[in-house]
């Protein structure tokens, strides 16, 4: 298939993820959008791996690593969200602006 197909698909998912990160107020939804972005990256990697027919299959290996890291990140992210929820009764991230001026 043309290489552009998966690439455009990945780009679309990534952009959707960007929109989600910026437009959503709920912290968990932001985390979900981040997962979307990571997946888009993975699609990209796999597509290029198939295109380049790498001997070391680096693209797939890298994709595996990304999945592992994403898992770790979601775990920690949700722990933090829980902590914020416990302390402030809210998961709206625009109310968490302690680092402001």
């Amino acid at each position: 298939m043309p290489l552009m197909y998966p690439l455009v698909f990945a780009a679309f998912l990534f952009s959707a993820g960007v929109y989600g990160v910026l437009a959503r107020r709920n912290a968990v939804m932001v985390l979900m959008s981040i997962e979307l972005m990571l997946n888009a990256v993975n699609v990209n990697l796999i597509a290029f791996n198939a295109y380049l027919r790498d001997q070391l299959v680096s693209g797939q290996v890298f994709a595996l690593f990304v999945i592992a890291v994403a898992a770790a990140e979601v775990g920690i992210g949700l722990a933090i969200v829980l902590l914020i929820f416990r302390n402030r009764e809210t998961v709206n991230i625009d109310e968490v602006d302690l680092l402001r001026w």
């Binding site: 960007v18 990160v21 910026l22 932001v30 991230i93 625009d94 968490v96 602006d97 302690l98 680092l99 402001r100 001026w101």
Partner: protein
């Protein structure tokens, strides 16, 4: 000894600094410091003068002070020739005796030490003017004197009138100073340097065009008009009497006002090269001497009589210079310093004794204050030009020079004959008027019976001693013009050789003496019995009003100039300063605040903001890198 001449201005300068810093804590309020500085300068000046009399050559030393570029530099140097020596003696002598006098006169004043500091600074300024070898240094000393005059006139500044008089003096002379500075620039540009010698040579060799010379000389003379109180900038001098009497004696009689005369004398070859400027000087001098003498006739305040008299006598000096009488003018400066300072100091003693300036509250003081009376008499007669006192000799020489230039056709001066004739005629009339108001002053102050409330008594030694010394000077100073080695010889330069001994025009001497005696006689007749019910001139209302309003000049200046400036120009400038200039400064601050308020949102604390910025930046960077750089 000439090499030490630089000490003469520097010592008072040091005294000023010392008095300012620690004067208060010194015994006697530090007066001794000022007096010592001037005394040493006095001794050095006398030594130098004796050297000049003995035929010493002029001494000139100069060093480059600051290069300005374009081939110019500001030199720092002094010229010690006969003219400078004579002036140095005058300045240091008067300054010394005024300071001794002030020990007693200013006793108890709360700003006693500051007063002596100001006097010292002023003396230094005048000496800088006298010794300067270049116009810029002279301007430096000139401005020091202007500032000191302001401070000294305004010594009793608690009274608003005194403060106003000080400002009036300062601003009026400033107007003249603008012309002076312009003149300096004209000549410095034309001669490519500030040194006086250079400028004179440039004029004499014809390197500087005659239009430039006329322009520059006219502008330089503006400064003299202001400082020496010539018409139309004479209005500040009478008001300057608001200052303490020692100030009037030093500054407004003998030294600062003489600076203008000195300037013309110093630059005389330049002025001689421009006949039109000399004519202008002559006309102005004639006008000035006449109106000042008329105004002196109707004053009640004794210091104002003397002030107008000073204006009139300065005009005499200027008149002399305008008709080619270089040595006559300086000679009159020399004698006038003595008798005018004497008159002022004596007037101060009188004022101290009767606690009033007004002659209407004086009278009959001859018996109560004999020493003062005798010294005052000597000074007054010298002023009136009675032989053999000093004023006679100098006034006579001026009139002789005017006669020669106007009627006898000696014709060496560049002045036109008509102007010289005018100078002569007004000179004679003024001599008459001078004798008249001198007689009036003498009789109203010392004659008839005492009209005041107090108990006048003679002054103490500190005040009387200077009076006696100056009286001796006023009596004998005239004799320096006689003989081969006369004052004319002392002040000659290579550009202005002396004309040989003074020839006495007997007819003229008789005429002037007659004029003087007539004036005194009329004055005696009118005022012998004291103040009349109504002043004689009051009978002619028009004349009286004109004289009382000082020929309406003050009103003219007030309405025309001061109103325009204070009323319109000053508020406009104030608005500009507050709104535009401050506006720029404030605006910078406000602008920064507004910018900050906007930039605050960069640090909103909200993660999504940061993420948005991040992605935006990535997109932007990608575009930039590929489109701009990659291609």
């Amino acid at each position: 000894m000439e090499k030490l001449a630089w000490l003469v201005p520097v010592l008072p300068l040091v005294a000023w600094a010392v008095l300012l810093l620690v004067g208060r804590h010194l015994p006697g309020g530090g007066a001794a410091v000022g007096i010592l500085a001037v005394a040493i300068g006095w001794v050095i000046s006398l030594a130098i003068l004796f050297g000049v009399i003995g035929g010493a050559d002029p001494y000139h030393v100069s060093t480059e002070w600051a290069p300005i570029g374009a081939g110019f530099d500001i030199p720092l140097g002094m010229t010690v020739d006969g003219l400078a020596a004579v002036l140095m003696v005058v300045v240091t002598t008067i300054s010394l005796f005024v300071q001794i006098y002030s020990i007693s006169y200013m006793r108890g004043d709360e700003r006693y030490t500051f007063f002596f500091a100001k006097l010292s600074l002023f003396t230094a300024g005048m000496l800088i003017v006298v010794l300067a070898d270049n116009l810029l240094l002279m301007l430096f000393g000139w401005e020091i004197m202007g500032v000191c005059s302001y401070f000294l006139i305004g010594h009793y500044w608690e009274d608003v009138a005194n403060a106003r008089a000080a400002i009036k003096a300062f601003l009026t002379t400033r107007v003249g100073d603008l012309g002076f500075m312009a003149g300096i620039l004209v000549f410095a540009w034309a001669a490519r340097g500030f040194e006086i010698e250079r400028i004179i040579e440039g004029v004499e060799t014809g390197d500087i065009s005659s239009t430039t010379v006329t322009l520059g000389a006219a502008l330089l003379f503006c400064g003299a008009i202001g400082k020496s109180g010539q018409f139309p900038l004479h209005t500040w001098l009478p008001d300057a009497m608001a200052g303490p009497t020692p100030v009037s004696a030093l500054i407004h009689a003998a030294t600062m006002v003489a600076a203008g005369v000195f300037l013309v004398a110093r630059m005389y070859p330049v002025f001689e090269a421009s006949g039109s400027v000399l004519n202008e000087i002559g006309i102005l001098a004639s006008i000035t001497m006449l109106i000042a003498a008329l105004l002196a006739l109707v004053q009640d305040d004794i210091k104002r009589v003397l002030a107008y008299s000073t204006v009139s006598q300065l005009a005499y000096m200027m008149g002399a210079l305008s008709v080619g009488g270089y040595s006559a003018g300086i000679f009159h400066l020399f004698t006038h310093a003595f008798f005018k300072a004497l008159l002022f100091l004596a007037a101060g003693v009188i004022i101290h004794a009767v606690h009033s300036n007004n002659m209407s509250e004086m009278g009959g003081l001859a018996r109560a204050m004999p020493v003062t009376f005798v010294t005052f008499l000597v000074g007054a007669l010298a002023l009136a030009g009675i032989a053999p006192l000093a004023g006679f000799w100098s006034k006579d020489e001026i009139l002789t020079d005017a006669w020669n230039a106007g009627f006898a056709g000696a014709g060496e001066a560049a002045t036109s004959q008509t102007v010289a004739q005018i100078v002569f005629v007004t000179g004679m009339v003024t001599a008459f008027l001078t004798a008249l108001y001198v007689g009036r002053m003498l009789w109203l102050t010392f004659g008839a019976a005492y009209r005041g409330q107090g108990h006048p008594h003679e002054a103490d030694a500190a005040m009387l001693f200077p009076l006696v010394v100056l009286a001796v000077g006023a009596a004998l100073a005239g004799f320096v013009s006689l003989g081969d080695n006369s004052i004319a010889t002392w002040i000659q330069t290579e550009h202005l050789p002396a004309h040989g001994p003074v020839t006495l025009n007997v007819g003229l001497i008789v005429a002037t003496t007659a004029v003087g005696l007539t004036g005194l006689a009329i004055g005696t007749a009118l005022y012998r019995r004291g103040l009349p019910e109504r002043e004689y001139l009051e009978r002619v209302p028009v004349v009286w009003k004109t004289l009382q309003r000082k020929f309406f000049l003050d009103d003219l200046y007030e309405q025309g100039i001061v109103r325009a400036v204070a009323g319109a120009l000053a508020p406009a400038t104030y608005w500009f300063d507050q709104r535009v200039i401050d506006g720029v400064v404030d605006g910078a601050g406000l602008g920064t605040r507004r910018l900050a308020r906007g930039l605050r949102y960069v640090q909103s604390g909200q993660v999504q903001w940061y993420a948005a910025a991040l992605f935006l930046g990535v997109v932007g960077l990608a575009v930039v890198v590929t489109q701009v750089i990659g291609s």
